[in-house]
């Protein structure tokens, strides 16, 4: 039984080795896995899908490149969905790096021939108002006037001169808010300020860590939440546009299997050694 004792106190670097193999090897495979669409993701998808063409959607990019693996795929499929439904998109960021991530996402989406064919114009079909310091206070002051909160857009154009922004004064003129968040400020602040104070309609994409914390707000304060890369993959599936998140799912699956395998082994060893201690 010495084997199990040793197993219980296994050097964690051996676990690390298994993890890295489990993540890397599947990257070479082309196989895809079945993905179930959860009701939370469907709720967000439906909320966007049911907006009439021309509706105005506000997207807040509240994350940095560190969380991009989880949130960038969501940004891509959301943009694609909005543009294919002819919705107007207003981008802001409460994290300094957020609007940069938005631009990277837009560049990717415009490579899609279907979206390219729509010949979308900056200022008319979408705008990027950039980053504003002040966290939740920015949301609060957007509630009274977006033009004074963001006097100029990302490149320095005056907000009031952008055709799309002419019809948008505050949250009353926004039909749906989508928040991509990796922490503070993020979805919690959008709930507290945009929803609780100004009755806006909010959907969110969160890192898988943040997402469970948002469950208590659903459905009264929050339509639904996409959790992590899996949430992004589900959105790609329901929108019938499988992309990057779907392709990473095999690595996800295998690495999970490895962790679960270790948990089972750990418990097995634990019970065997405990049983032995009891008998002796």
């Amino acid at each position: 039984m010495k084997f199990f004792d040793r197993l219980l106190a296994i050097d964690r670097r051996i676990i690390f080795l298994f993890v890295i193999i489990a993540v890397t090897l599947p990257l070479f495979s082309k196989a895809t896995l079945h993905i179930e669409v959860s009701p939370m993701v469907k709720a967000v998808y439906d909320a966007v899908d049911n907006l009439p063409p021309g509706s105005k959607v506000l997207v807040s990019f509240d994350y940095d490149p560190a969380s991009a693996p989880e949130l960038q795929p969501m940004a891509l499929s959301f943009f694609r969905h909005c543009f294919s439904k002819d919705l107007k998109v207003v981008i802001i960021g409460l994290w300094p790096q957020g609007p940069v991530q938005a631009n990277i996402a837009l560049e990717d989406v415009f490579r899609d021939p279907e979206i390219k064919a729509k010949n979308l114009k900056y200022g008319v079909d979408y705008v990027n108002l950039g980053y504003m310091a002040g966290n939740e206070v920015v949301i609060q002051s957007m509630g009274s006037n977006i033009h004074t909160t963001f006097p100029a857009d990302y490149t320095g154009n005056r907000t009031s001169e952008l055709p799309l922004m002419k019809g948008i004064k505050n949250f009353d003129n926004i039909d749906f808010i989508y928040n991509l968040s990796a922490g503070y400020p993020g979805t919690m602040e959008w709930v507290q300020f945009a929803v609780d104070r100004f009755q806006a309609k909010l959907g969110a994409g969160n890192t898988a860590v943040q997402a469970p914390g948002m469950y208590p707000y659903i459905p009264e304060q929050l339509v639904g939440v996409l959790g992590g890369m899996k949430g992004g993959a589900e959105y790609e599936i329901i929108a019938k546009r499988p992309a990057r998140a779907v392709s990473y799912m095999l690595s996800q699956g295998v690495s999970h299997a490895v962790i679960i395998f270790f948990i089972i082994i750990g418990n097995l060893a634990f019970f065997v050694t405990r049983g032995k201690k009891k008998t002796s």
Binding site: F28, A68, P69, P96, G213, G227, G228, M229, Y248
Partner: protein, 219 residues
């Protein structure tokens, strides 16, 4: 294999940080030092351009302009000068003799935090959560929803009992607190399980960079 020098630097730094998993070593120490220096510098530049310039310099500029051109005192914009003065008071810490003045801006910040957090958490964390917990236990014809509601109410109720500090956890009260801690444990387990995926995605993207972008082994 990539021909971009940037990608090679990025790959070196990626491997350097990862080497920490094996053990602490000079390459990790080097990457760590670069990280501390570069990130401190990054935030220094960002604070200057994103906070100091727009909030202090621009606003005070407007206030001065209004005063000179229209001869009017624009209280709103002048108030940012006060913020700037608080900031300067903070820097007085560099002068040991009058360093204690820096407690004033600190006091303003802490007072603001206490006032705002008291209201915001009471509203969003307490009031609204209680509102969502007051639900009918019995949903006609839907066994699933009925069980769900009962669990929701009982779990919230017992969980709160666990947090009672001034009453000993004994008897029925202690029993409820015990059920409460079970719910809290389930909550932690579930959130942990939910998170594993998130962490794996980060590593997947990193390995994709090393194997794909840098070494060019996957298409």
């Amino acid at each position: 294999m990539s021909t971009s020098i940037g990608v090679w630097i990025a790959a070196f730094l990626t491997l350097g940080i990862m080497s920490f998993l094996y053990k602490d070593n000079p390459i990790y120490k080097f990457c760590e030092a670069v990280f501390v220096g570069v990130s401190a510098g990054y935030w220094f530049v960002v604070e200057f351009f994103n906070v100091f310039l727009p909030k202090v310099y621009d606003n005070v500029g407007i206030a001065v302009n209004v005063l000179l051109v229209q001869g009017r005192v624009d209280w709103f914009h002048w108030s940012y000068l006060l913020g700037g003065i608080l900031g300067v008071l903070m820097l007085l810490r560099l002068v040991p003799k009058i360093g204690w003045i820096s407690r004033w801006p600190l006091a303003v910040v802490v007072g603001t935090t206490a006032g705002l957090w008291l209201i915001n958490y009471l509203v969003s964390n307490a009031m609204r959560q209680i509102q969502s917990t007051i639900i009918p236990l019995y949903v006609a014809g839907d066994l699933n929803a009925t069980i769900g509601s009962i669990i929701l109410v009982v779990g919230t109720f017992c969980g709160l009992i666990y947090f009672f500090f001034s009453k000993e956890h004994k008897g029925a009260f202690g029993g409820a607190a015990k059920i409460g801690i079970w719910f809290i444990m389930i909550t932690f387990g579930a959130s942990f399980g939910y998170t594993v995926m998130s962490r794996m995605s980060l590593l997947i993207a990193r390995m994709d960079f090393l194997v794909g972008t840098w070494l060019g082994l996957i298409r």
